[in-house]
Amino acid sequence: MDVALLSRIQFAFTMGFHIIWPILTIGLVTFLAITEACWLKTDNPVYLKLYKFFAKIFALAFGMGVVTGIPLAYQFGTNFSEFSHQAGAIIGPLLGVEVMTAFFLEAAFIGVMLFGWNHVSPKVHFLATVLVAVGTYNSTFWVISANSWMQTPQGHGFEAGRMFVEDWWQIIFNPSFPYRLSHMLVATYLSAALFVSGICAYFLLKRVHIEVAKKGFKMAILMVAILAPIQIFIGDLHGLHTKEHQPAKVAAIEALWETRQGAPLVLWAIPDRELATNRYAIEIPKLASLILTHDWNGEVKGLNEFKEVGIPSVATVFYAFRLMVGLGTLFLFVGVWGAWATYRGNLYRSRWLQRLSIICAPLGVVATISGWIVTEVGRQPWIIQGVMKTRDALSPIIPEIVSLSLLGFVIVYTLMGFAFLYYVHHLIQKGPETFVLEEEWLELVTHTAHITPKGK
């Protein structure tokens, strides 16, 4: 394999693994801030227990996010140095501002959030939680702005083989930015809501920690009911916008090989790149045209238009998109069911809804990653749409070295992924009731964890 492919695999792998944690933490910290606000307002200790329990999982995910995030910024230099050289004047400041407005804020106040209970008042503690949440939003804002600029670049000029900024406003608020930002933010809320509802459903199903589980389950499942339809609506707008700015991506999503009027919606197929056609296709006539142009006979551009510059891996984009949309539909179903059960007053008795929620716990993250695969692979062969190709962005390095670092990441991330699952499993088995402050010190400090009586 060549440096181009290896570097892309390495970036995709490290990015795909990293994004799991921000998805969870952005949504979870929002949930935590809401929970703590409820606690301060009502003084109901159930909220505090809920907070302490999910703060533990949040802390684990946040730690993973920090350490897996650092390699990404560095890979711009180590693996894509031509990109850094040519586009650094634009991407660099966006990431620099992200560090200054987001990372410092999160990193400073997460210490207070996790370790500060005995050092600050509850109100200051709540402020710390809110500031961590603000940090995660700032981070999302700037990094999505940078990514969106690579999808729909504008506001830049060229000089001596490098790009420079003509207009910051145009760069930051580039055309696809509002769509991508709202789609991603809602994705994180939805994913975290599914995650929380899954864990609470597990408690309900096992009939343990009932009080805390009821509260968390209701909050989370109603969140799913509200967010799932919103997300589908935003996704649709995002798709229509992509058709204007990145038609090749949409053609790959639809596996549409030839430009045509009245294009069918391909529900399922095996895209064949060699023959530029679909095998075993199941299609609904004219529906793609209706969705994308709001006209039964509207023209949709096919992949044939982009042969000259190159097309993305159609199968990857095609399947990832279907996975995302399929899961989105499932979440809508879960949300509607949850809302209906709440309305009927039997939310906590509905065993099948709880079982389904458990299955859905990790699926929000899966759907979000699928979405990122669609948008990133769909942009290929460009690294900056229409401006710079990925193969022109590489570092002067040899493939052997990249293979080794890729192998290192695969091994370390696999280990860390399992460690995370192990400890989250451990936390869930211990449950929220045990996180009473004094007892925890005893358990951690004296070496008698296994003989300390549980449940004060």
Binding site: A55, L60, G63, V66, V67, I70, A73, Y74, F76, G77, T78, S81, E82, S84, H85, A87, G88, A89, G92, P93, L95, G96, V97, V99, M100, T101, F103, F104, L105, E106, A107, A108, G111, V112, L114, F115, G116, W117, H119, L131, R162, F164, V165, E166, S395, P396, I397, I398, I401, G408, F409, Y413, M416, A419, Y423, E440, W441, L444, V445, H450
Partner: protein, 333 residues
């Protein structure tokens, strides 16, 4: 003042803050397995757990601002240092997650994360020191692209600076522990700080002798008239600080060893900056050769002026929240 120079100062400042802050918590990690008792390790970890994340963020700040203000330097240096950077990043992962996972591990299996934390911290420090050596030695560059091999950074000099930084961070960590801990842990920290200080001074001396001998322009920078007048206090101050640190370590003082070590780091860092100026990528490329266009520099500097004071404000707030001695009963959540 020149906007390129201001950007360079910003990065230099960011890297210095990183070295000082993450230096002491990496140092605590380097000393971790050498501590005699598990109780020491609990205290050591909780003395840095609330602040390490903010400290490590300065590493992303340094990288991020270098990328933003000197993208061409970023595109030359990072491929050249591919191997040590990747090793450092992987080691950082072991070290970073150990903070969370160690606390949640049964004491009988805690050695796994103790080792990960110690090994991760030591390798991170070693790689950073080796990269420092490589940066001082310079890179083969043609037409603003790195043209050397994947292991050019590995030299006897970079190995020396690698070990020097491991010892330097360990010294910072041990003096931090003198300040933040009590009784047995503090006594132990004093006992390791002594040899560490001597070793670090030897390394400072070695680098100070080697670089002017090797690089005529560095010799000229320091020993030509009138520079020698302006710069002569630097070695004097270094000696003074080293003496004060030593006295603090062997007496009952708790704060002066840490702050004197910080002083030693600042002076060594300034000494390096004076030697290398105006080159960003040795031996030929200056800040001005590698800077981003003015629109980007202005943006970064503008945002920094606005945000960094706020960052310092709340960072100081967080340190104050967790000020004072760490005992075993505190700081766990």
């Amino acid at each position: 003042m020149d906007i390129v120079l201001m950007s360079a100062a910003l990065i230099g400042f960011g890297i210095l803050v990183y070295v000082l802050l993450d230096g002491f918590d990496l140092g605590v990690g380097i000393l971790f397995l050498w501590a005699p008792r598990d109780a020491d390790r609990n205290v050591m970890m909780s003395s840095i757990a609330p602040v390490w994340d903010g400290n490590a963020t300065w590493l992303i700040f340094g990288g991020g601002v270098l990328f933003a203000a000197f993208p061409t330097a970023y595109s030359i240096v990072l491929p050249a240092l591919y191997v040590p950077i990747m090793v450092m990043l992987l080691a950082l992962i072991f070290r970073g997650v150990a903070f969370e996972y160690r606390l949640k591990t049964n004491p009988t299996h805690r050695w796994v994360w103790d080792t990960a934390f110690w090994g991760g911290s030591t390798v991170v420090a070693l790689m950073q020191g080796m990269m420092l050596g490589a940066v001082i030695e310079g890179f083969r560059v043609v037409n603003n692209r790195y043209v050397g091999g994947p292991f050019d950074w590995l030299t006897s000099f970079s190995v020396t600076t690698g070990f020097a930084l491991v010892m330097g961070y360990a010294l910072l960590g041990s003096t931090w522990l003198i300040m933040k801990t009590e009784e047995a842990t503090q006594l132990w920290a004093r006992s390791v700080a002594k040899p560490l200080l001597l070793i670090v001074l030897c390394f400072i001396l070695m680098v100070s002798i080697k670089t002017p001998l090797e690089y005529p322009q560095i010799a000229q920078r320091w020993f030509s008239f009138p520079n020698i007048l302006w710069l002569s206090p630097v070695p004097g101050l270094t000696t003074g600080l080293a003496l004060k640190a030593w006295k603090g370590i062997i007496s009952k003082e708790e704060h002066s060893p840490f702050w004197c070590t910080i002083g030693l780091f600042v002076l060594s860092y300034l000494g390096l900056a004076i030697s290398l100026y105006p080159y960003l990528v040795m031996p030929h490329l200056t800040f001005w050769d590698l800077a981003a266009p003015e629109s980007s520099l202005k943006f970064v500097l503008g945002v920094s002026c606005f945000t960094l004071p706020i960052v310092f404000g709340y960072t100081i707030f967080v340190y104050r929240v967790f000020k004072g001695k760490v005992t075993e009963q505190k700081n766990f959540y």
